[in-house]
Structure formats: structure tokens, C-alpha cells
Amino acid sequence: MSTALKSRLAAAGSALRERDVDGTTLLLAACFVPMLAFFVVVWVIPIVYALGMSLFASPVRNPEFVGLGNYAELLGNGAFWGFLWNSVVYAVATTGLSLVIGLGLALVINQRIRGGDALRTLMIFPYLLPTLVVIFMWKFILDPNIGILNQFLVDAGLIDKPIAFFSTLEFAMPAVVVTSVWKFASFAFFILLARLQAIDPDLYERARVEGATTWQAFRDITFPHLRGAILIILLVRGIWMFNKFDIIYLSTRGGPLQQTTTLPIRVYQLAFSEVNFGMATALAGVMFFLLAGVAVVYFRAFAPEKEVA
């Protein structure tokens, strides 16, 4: 593989030397060596090393080769499927809601409403504000003792006593979902807005002349232009949310009673609370192969590499 690549690069280099410009080989190296070195050092070596580790029991202290034993233990444990289910619920809920809000707002701002530019600038904040800050804001708003949402709900007579949203079984997941949607709806919004603004306005003009209703224009012009972007958002955002660690860890630590423990939270618990690196790397391995499976589907369905290569 690497020798094949080397000869290809050499061929490319010699093709350029024929153009009679100097310094080409060095430039070729300067372009690719940093990227290749970087990928090998921070991606390939750690992942291969960790996959190797996942084949051992207590790999750090006194390693004992167990083959796929860790994987069998992991998948054979009912708790794993519960954590997988939590991940799926969290990913589907946050991705779906983010898409609906992002799409709604993108359509609204694309109408060139008054204050649209200000609203667009406003939407940058949730995206750029560090997750920790977002958690602090929502922990305060949802706090049972001083939180303004509880104050409001009690004053309005909707509830009798304050709810500790992040630590109540039935409210923990919804609270984490709302917090996440607040942060991530802008992602869908900006991508969809970029697509909307790329649609030729003449299309709408022609549809109007032909007497199409707003709904028909949306169905026949807007939606077809957005479909690709929507699918990409569902897929990529969905993958990211499935793998989200920080926002859940910082808001609930996976509690109460593992109610919000998703696979990423579980990986962290296994590695750093239970200090069981055999199981932690095995779970990371499972997540790696899940992701690889989704990536294969993504590459088949969309051929995203066509955009550049």
C-alpha cells in the first residue's frame, strides 16, 4: 500500500518536472508529508493499538490474551443494549428536532424578513458557545431551587412543586435533548440556508407566473433542492449525536440510574471510573465498527468523494 502510493506520488512528481519547474519534489513532500504523518500518528497507530488492547483482559496491569472474549462479554450483557437504545433515542430526538427548527428558521430567513441578518448572527452563538457554557445556562434555567423555568411553571400553576429536570428519571433525557437541540439546531440552519440561497430566484418567478401556490413552489422547487442536504444532515448530525459525549457527561454524568447513559458515556465510565481498559477499548471497537458500517452506506449512497476527486 505505502510503496504503491510512493510510486504513484513519484509518477506525479515526474509528470510535473516535465513542466520544467523547479523545486517540485520538495513541494510534493511539503504538501503530503505533514498530512500523512499526522494521520499515522494520531489516527492509525492509536486505533490499531487500542483494537489490539481490546483483545486482552486487564491489558494495562497484567495482560492476558482473551481473543474476542471482551466483545462477547460486552454484547452478551443486557445493559449494553440498553445503552445502545439510549444512544439511538438521543440521536434520533436531537437530530430530528434540530432539523425541524433549523429548516423552519432557514425558510423564514430566506424570505428576507426584517431583522433577518441579526437573527442569522444570533444563531451563530449557540453553535460557537462552548458546550460547558450551554450546560451552565440550562442547568440554571432548569434548576429545581432557583431555576426560572420552575419558577415560571409554579407561578403559572402548571406544576405544584419544582422539578429537578436533570435528575428525575422521566425528565432527564428530555432535558438533555432540549439542551442539545438549543446548541445544535444552528448547524442544520446554516447548511440549509446556504442551500436555499443557492436556488435560482428565476425558478420561483416562473412558478409564480404559472400560478403555483406557495406550497406547490415549496414542494416542486425548494424541497428537491434541499433533499440532499437534509439527508446529509440526518446522517452526519445523527452520527455525531449518537457519539456525543460532552453534553451528556456535563449535564447528567449518564444518570439518574443510567437513564441517560449512552455508549460514549459508557466508554468513559469503563475506562476512567471502572479502569477496565479491556472492556473500554472493546466498546470503543464496537463503536468504531458501527461507524465504519454507516460510513460504507454513506459512501455508497452519496459518493461524497466525487465533490473533490
Partner: protein
Amino acid sequence: MATSTGRSLVSHDTQKRLQRIAVYLTALLISVFTIIPVYVMVVIAIQSPATTFAGGRVNLLPTQPSLRNFLVLLGSTDTVRYFVNSLVVTLGSTVLSTTIAVAAGYGLTRFDFTGKSLAARAVLFSYMFSPIVLAIPLYVVFSTLGLLNSHFALTLALTAISAPFCIWLMWQYFQTVPIALEESAWVRGASRWRTVRDVVLPVARPGYISAAIFAFAVAWNDFTMARVVMSRDEMYTITVGASLFLDRVSIGWGETMAVSLLISIPPFLIALFLQRYLLQGFSVGGLE
């Protein structure tokens, strides 16, 4: 139900007006939903807890602004040190990530070789990858090499999660830069290197500013990598350090929101002054 002839129950004017109202109502709802948390943070940060919680209720109309919370942060926490740590690794990984991306983007668009689509898939796969799933292997390797609790290790880890998108962005960006510019420089006798310095880099500026902003945002926002790589208090970045504030008896919501406000300053400046570069990044996919 919409009919194919476009007739409806209400008149065209009423329909238009209702639609207008719906549009503004949606905009209003989402603005309020977005603004309230930010407003709450700012108000609590700039008034003393005595004012905020006077009378057993949260007072959110700032009447007596005060620097008290910020002074407590400076006086009795390591906030300054955490900020310095954050700045070191954020700037380090931003420079590293952007440099790798500019070089790779230029090379990938200017040299021909087969296997490019494989390279594109590798970049996209790492772009979708999960930080925590990468953090565990990195922890294992850094721990073996004795590199935990170092700025160097965290810089590498942060670069690992920002570089794939930056490479993708620069790859796309360089495709829009016509090679004719470079060719005309070569014809006039400029060397390949000089062409890169005097022609390519100036033209690519909007691209790499955009890449740098994303790399910066990822590193500044990071909690996962810093939590995993740094275990000694004096090496904590601001997000990890501040995440432990609420566990302390001596620190309340006032100081917590004050540190949140400080952490939000760089993102705020980006939103205000570098917005167009950020939007450009979203046109090729955005990040996390």
C-alpha cells in the same frame, strides 16, 4: 388539502397575510428560545449574587452591575491559569491544523495521482469520527509514552479532531482557485515555491481563515479531549477547570456565569467580525 389548480378556502390576500404572520411568529419564537439562556448568563455574571437572589427569587433585570463575580474568580480560583492553558493548546492546534490543511488541500488539487477518492473517503471518515472513541486510544498511547498532562499531547489530540474538516474545506477551496494564476507566474519565471508564497497563499486567504476559525472553535469548545488527556489540576483547560467549579462550596452561580461569560468572548468576537468566513465553512459541511 392543496389542489392541483391551487384553489384554497381563503382568499389570496388573507393567505399571504397569514403566511407573513406565521413567518414572523416562527422567527420570534426561535429568537426568544435562543436569547433567553444567553441573557440569563450575562445578567447573573454582571450582578452580585446578593442582588440576583434578593428576596428569594431570581432577579433578572440588572439594576446594580458589579464586578464582584469576576474579582472572586481572579482572587480565589485558578481561572487565569486555565485560560492560559486553553489559549496555548487552542492556538497550537489551530496553527497546526490549518497548516496541515493548506498544504494538503494545495497538494490534493495540484498533483495528480490515483487513489484520490480513497484519500477523500479517509478524510470524510475521520471527519465523522467520534471524539470519545478517538480519545480512548489516544489516552492509551499518550499514557504509554508518558505524554499525559502535557500541552503537546492535548494539542495533537485537538488537531486530530479539527484537521479532517479543515483538510476537506481547503481541498474544496483550492478547487475554486484556477491553476491559470499559477501557470502565468511560472511562465514569467517564478519558481514553484515562489508561486505558492506570492500567488497561491494570498488567493487562498479566505479559505484558510475559514479553516482556522473552525479549528479554533473546536479546540476552544473542547471538553472531551482535555478531560481525558489532563488529570492534573494545573494543566486543566478552562472548560475542564470551570466544569468543576459548581462542585465547590465557595463558588456559586454568580462566579459560574462570570466564567461562562469570559469563555464566550472569543466566540462572540468571531460571530461579530468573522461571520462570513464561518458561513463559508458551512457551505461545505460545517463541523460537529
